[in-house]
Amino acid sequence: QSLADIKSKGKLVVGIQGDNAPWGFVNTQGVQEGFDADIAKLFGKQLGLPVEFVPTAVANRIPALVTGRVDILFATMGMYPDRAKSIQFSKPYAANDIILVAAKGTAITTPADMKNFAIGVARSSAQDTAVTKVAPEGTTIRRFDDDAATIQALLSGQVQAVGANQFYPQRLNKSQPGAYERKLDFVRQYNGAGTRLGQKEWNETVNAFIDTIKANGELAKVYQTWMGFQPPEFPTSLEGIPFTVS
C-alpha cells in the first residue's frame, strides 16, 4: 500500500480512540473530536482526501491497523520499543507526562512508597507501563478498562493513588476541588502515528506531514486548543524506535 493506493481509494481511513477525551473521542452528536482528530484532519487536508474515522479501543488499535482495517493510527499511541516491533512509528507529534496522583494526605514521596497502597491505572496505557516499571516488587496494581473507571476507583476509594497523564489532576479536582495532587513524575512520553511495517513511502509521507505542521505552527494551534499549553521540544531519536523504514 502506498500513497497512490490511498489516493485511488479516495479517502483516508484513520484509526483513532473513541473514548479518550481530550485525545480522541466521539462527542454526543456522534462526531469524532479531539487532539488526534484535528491532527488527522490536517493530514487529510494536506493529502487532499476526506478523512474517515474508525474509533478503536485501546486493545484493538494494533489489530485494526495490521489487518488493514485502517490506513493509519492517530490513536494516542505511546512510542515503545515493543510496539515498534508490531507497527511502524512516525516521528513524535505529541507528548504526554506520566505522573502519579493521590489525595493530598497520602504518604507518597518516593516510588518506594507506592508499595503501601493500591495503585490504579488504565490497562495498557502509558501510565500502566510506567507504574509497572517503577513500582517496587509486590505493589498492588489494579488495571481498569479506561481512564474513567480508573478515576472513579480513586474517587470511591477502591485505590489510593492512580497512574495518571497530564489531564487527570484537573479532572479529579473538578469533582473534589483541591483534594488531589501530583505525587510523582515518571516519564515524559511521546506519541507517534502508526503505519504497517515495511510501508516505506507511506511512512515518509507521514513524517513529512509532521515536519510541516511543526514548522508552520499548525501543531501549536492544535496544542493550544486541546491542552492549553505549547508543544514541548521533540527528540530526534528514541532508543529502539526507528521513525523511518530502514
Partner: protein
Amino acid sequence: MGYTLDFSVVIDALPSLLWGCLATIGLAQSGMSLALVIGVAGVVARGSNQRWLRGLVIGFVELIRNTPFLVQIFFLFFALPHIGLTLNPTVTAILALGLNGGAYAIEIIRGGVQSIDKGQIEAGLALGLHKGQVFRMIVLKPALRAIYPSLTGQFIMLTLTSSICSAIAAYELTSVAQRIESDTFRSFEVYFTITGLYLAISWLMMTGFSVFSRRYFNYPTR
C-alpha cells in the same frame, strides 16, 4: 497481510495463563456456591406467605436478569464504597457472580420444584412430615435432578461471564491475557489461546458436573 502468527510469546506466558485459568475457576466456583445458596434461599423466600419477601425476590430476579453483568459489577464496585462498604476486586467479583447466578438459579430451581409431582408432597404430608421436612427430604433432590442440566448450563455461562470481571481489575484469565497482550502486542495469538483455554475450562467443568451427577443422582428413573 504482512502479519505472521507467532505463538512463542504465548508459550512464554503459559505459566501466568495457567494461573489465570486457576483464578477463573476459583472465581467461578465461589460464585456458583454463592449462587446456589442464593438460589435455594430465594426459592424458599419466593414461596413464603410474606408478601413483601416474595416481592423482594421477584424484584431482585427481574433486576438482575434484565441488566448486563457489566453494569451490575460496576455498581457493586463503585457504589458500595459510598455506603462505606469497600470490597476488594476479587470479593466484588465473587459477589457479583453470585448475585447474577443466584437470580437465574432461583428461577431454575423454582421450575424444578414445580416439576415435582404434587403427589410427592402430599405423600410426605400424609406421612406426617412437616412442610420444611418435605422440601428438604423429598422435593429437593429430585427437583435438583430435574433441573441439573439447566443449572449446570447456567453455571458454565457464569464461568464465561467471569471474563467481564477484568473490568474492575479482578485477577482472572482475561485480565492476565490483556496484560500479556499489552506487553507483547500479540493480540491474535493471545485471544486465540484464551478462547481455547476457556473451552478447556468449560469442558472440564462439564465433565466434573456429569461425574458428580452420576454419583449424587445415583437412583434409577423410568
